[in-house]
């Protein structure tokens, strides 16, 4: 089959293809120029057929192109021109002036009366631009991460300085408060009963104790979220907190078995606050009971006592800062500690039947095996 016989039947087929197709002969004369390459290049088949391709596109005479095209025409394997290592094989401008990115393959065909090279040009502009966009987004994200890291570092440094400053200040204030409280107490003991001076000094003592509590609270609050959360066994945490709460005759009844929650390391403080409130303000609490209940989405740790319970009108504001019989900070802090890992707390008891605190833990923060 001659070159002409080979080309004639494929012209119509080549025009249907979504790629640019050009066939050149041994002298690099164009023998086929399909519709797609005509559209991309702005040069018609009539204009191109019979022309020397490297005269129309002189860059193809550069050694990097010429040698490889000739290698194919000399009988070598098909050759590929990628979009990154080469200028477009056939420059095809886009409406916005940029060039189409091309992936070009050059394949040899032997015919009875000569040799031809089939040049197939794939338009990979969208792919290339998509990758450029992705790369640009990636670079931007990396820059933002770097920027964020710098800010985090600066914040960490500032935070450490503030912690140091507040720690020293707290220590100094507490020292002065202790002196003030000690002296006020001495004065209180020295003054006769039922005098106006005694009344005033007792007001001073109460206020000073409140200041002492507030300062101690700032220390606790500062520690909130300071350490990474971890897995804590409720039984261990509750027993330790109970012993710290000076329970007197009150007993603790905890459900048997391992029940762990993923929480802030200050979790013990939550149980301490609940136990201390029960012992101090519970109205004759004799037993505190802890039970676990696992539902489909969340588990509930119930901390119940057999005291007087909490009045309904007080319940809604129970976890607000400053609400309570003592400092009004304990339950506020407890709620904040639990919220760090998505745990909530509410009071669901009835006045006269004892307090009932329900700690609701999402099931992905619960496990019943120490070494899962």
């Amino acid at each position: 089959m001659s070159v002409a016989e080979f080309i004639r039947p494929i012209i119509q087929f080549a025009d249907l293809l979504p790629v640019g197709v050009c066939i050149i002969d041994e002298k690099k004369k164009v023998r086929l120029w399909n519709r797609m390459i005509a559209r991309w290049s702005g040069r018609s088949a009539e204009e191109m057929n019979g022309q020397h391709l490297d005269l129309i596109y002189p860059h193809l005479n550069a050694p990097a192109y010429r040698r490889r095209i000739e290698q194919v025409l000399d009988g070598g394997p098909p050759t590929i021109f990628s979009s990154q290592l080469n200028a477009p094989f056939i420059p095809c401008p886009l409406p916005d002036g940029r060039m189409r990115l091309q992936h070009t393959s050059v394949i040899r065909q032997d015919r009875a009366d000569g040799i031809i090279a089939i040049i197939i040009i794939e338009d990979i502009t969208e792919l290339g631009h998509g990758i450029e966009r992705a790369r640009s987004m990636c670079d931007q994200a990396l820059e933002e991460v770097e920027e964020r890291k710098k800010v985090e570092k600066a914040l960490l440094f500032t935070n450490r300085k503030l912690q140091l400053l507040s720690g020293i200040t707290r220590h100094d204030i507490l020292n002065e408060v202790t002196v003030l409280l000690g002296n006020a107490t001495f004065l209180d003991e020295m003054l006769p009963d039922e005098t106006l001076e005694r009344k005033y000094i007792n007001t001073i003592i109460r206020s000073t104790k409140r200041i002492q509590n507030q300062i101690s609270f700032t220390s606790d609050y500062e520690g909130l979220g300071g350490e990474e959360p971890g897995w804590f066994d409720i039984r261990d945490v509750a027993q330790k907190a109970f012993s710290m709460a000076r329970p007197g005759n009150t007993t603790l009844d905890i459900q048997e078995g391992c029940f762990q929650v993923f929480a802030d390391p200050m979790l013990e403080k939550v149980f301490f606050n609940l136990f201390e409130n029960a012992v101090r303000h519970g109205g004759g609490v004799t037993t505190i009971t802890i039970r676990y209940d696992t539902g489909p989405d969340e588990s509930v740790i119930s901390v119940a006592d057999d005291g007087a319970g909490i009045p309904a009108n007080f319940r809604e504001r129970l976890f607000e800062k400053g609400v309570g019989r003592n400092t009004g900070l304990g339950l506020f802090l407890s709620k904040e500690i639990l919220e760090i890992t998505g745990i909530s707390i509410e009071e669901a008891g009835q006045e006269g039947k004892g307090a009932l605190f329900q700690i609701r833990v999402p099931n992905d923060k619960v496990r019943s095996n120490k070494y899962p």
């Binding site: 009988g75 070598g76 098909p78 050759t79």
Partner: protein, 203 residues
């Protein structure tokens, strides 16, 4: 089948000429001086997978494949270990190397670029062999994949897997040391023909 020292030397010479041509083309294209080391040639029997792994390792390679048919028939591969492919892409494109030792971050434009580099290497070697031996072959279009070598070899047809000629070379671009290999996989008959043709050129 075994090749004697003279035959291995002749084969190395052919591969070396091809690799030299490829280095010249790559240098022109990239504008950087690219040198390719004289290749080391091994002949491995296709069923000796342990030996293949010993020479080539079990890691993923960036591979360009080209099938050929004619006086001798087989498959040629140009392969780069992940680390070298990463350095090569960075050196050519200016992209940051990933240093992960994996090819997972490669996208299709990286693959397209590696395909061209691999294609140039294979074409250099195959062109050199066919020119000197005065024979013509029919080729498939090159294709690209990322696989361990054993998997690449398994994909060649069973009659071709009898012999694997491994040409191991190193490419130096801008003081970067990039490892690359050319594999020629062919059946016993094809290797016989290749060796006979090499002998004819030596006589």
């Amino acid at each position: 089948m075994d090749l004697n020292t003279e035959e291995l030397d002749a084969l190395r010479e052919l591969v070396n000429i091809g690799v030299g041509k490829a280095a010249g083309i790559l240098s022109e294209m990239t504008g950087s001086t690219i040198e390719l080391q004289i290749p080391v040639i091994h002949l491995i029997s296709g069923d000796q997978y342990q030996e293949i792994e010993a020479v080539l390792g079990g890691e993923h390679y960036s591979a360009v494949r080209l099938g050929f048919e004619g006086a001798f028939t087989g498959t040629a591969f140009s392969i780069f270990p992940a680390k070298s492919a990463d350095i090569l892409i960075a050196a050519i494109t200016g992209d940051e190397p990933d240093h992960s030792g994996s090819l997972a971050h490669f996208h299709s434009i990286h693959a397209e670029t590696l395909m061209e580099v691999g294609n140039i290497l294979i074409n250099g070697v195959m062109g050199s062999i066919t020119n000197i031996l005065g024979t013509r072959l029919i080729y498939t279009l090159p294709s690209y994949s990322e696989e361990p070598v054993a998997k690449l070899i398994e994909e060649a047809s069973s009659d071709q897997r009898e012999n694997i000629i491994v040409a191991q070379t190193r490419m130096f671009i801008q003081n970067l040391n990039i490892e690359g290999k050319i594999l020629l996989i062919m059946g016993g008959k094809s290797l016989d023909i290749l060796v006979r043709k090499i002998q004819e050129t030596q006589d």
